[in-house]
């Protein structure tokens, strides 16, 4: 399974754009990149997933360069409620049953200040 590396913590202010970069040098050809968000005392919540180039949804954008060895989660105009831990995962397709084995690292603790 490809290992991911991301900053332990980040600070930002309300209204700013936040970019969290994740390194995954050993990503395999079939691997997808997925980001989850976790608030205290809640389970992780799926944010966005991509394979290459750029993906955008109503919550965030995901930028993946051509070599796919890194990815950047972009949160536009953050608010206090975006304070959470953000996890970058590289999905490995496990044949049996066809599921995505998730390896959560320590994640990035984002603190948004007023």
């Amino acid at each position: 399974l490809a290992k991911t590396t991301q900053p332990i913590s980040m600070d930002s202010y309300e209204g700013q754009e936040v970019n969290i970069t994740c390194s995954h040098n050993n990503i395999a050809t079939n691997d997808y990149i997925t980001w989850y968000q976790q608030f205290p005392s809640q389970g992780p919540r799926f944010i966005i997933q991509g394979y290459k180039t750029k993906v955008t949804n109503e919550v965030a954008s995901l930028f993946i360069p051509a070599d796919r060895k890194s990815s950047t989660l972009s949160l536009p105009r953050v608010s206090l409620s975006d304070t959470a831990v953000y996890y970058c995962l590289v999905g490995d397709r496990v044949r049996s049953g066809g599921y995505n084995k998730l390896i959560f690292g320590a994640g990035t603790r984002l603190a948004v200040h007023p």
Binding site: S41, G43, P44, R45, F46, G97, G105
Partner: protein
């Protein structure tokens, strides 16, 4: 929206007790998972089920068993609870397929005294 419901948010049990953690999902997902989350260790997969009555061991199955008699319900059983099983337990479900995101419940914080 997918709803994954775990029966208890907080649970306190004693060493040696048999403990049942229940999880129900309402989206007809084939896959269901049990994880535990501990500070500094991230989420670790305990067991996985890809169909009714089917199960596979995850990374840390020792001391646990599971039951899936109905598609929507996945139970985690601590056969004889020990203090090192004090943790946050998270249930998740997903459609089959390697790119399908997992949908998590809000967790059960279990304390074994």
């Amino acid at each position: 929206d997918v709803k994954v419901t775990q029966s208890s948010r907080y649970l306190v049990k004693r060493t040696g007790e048999k403990v049942f953690l229940e999880c129900v999902q309402d989206m007809d997902h084939e896959n269901m998972f049990w994880y535990r989350q501990d500070p500094g260790l991230g989420l670790r997969l305990i067991y996985f089920s890809y169909d009714v009555k089917m199960k596979e061991k995850g990374d840390i199955p020792e001391g646990y068993s599971v039951s899936r008699e109905k598609k929507e319900r996945f139970s985690l059983i601590l056969e004889s609870a020990s203090t090192n099983q004090t943790s946050m337990y998270l249930c998740a479900s997903s459609l089959p397929g390697g790119t399908q995101p997992q949908h998590f419940g809000d967790g059960t914080r279990l304390s074994i005294l």
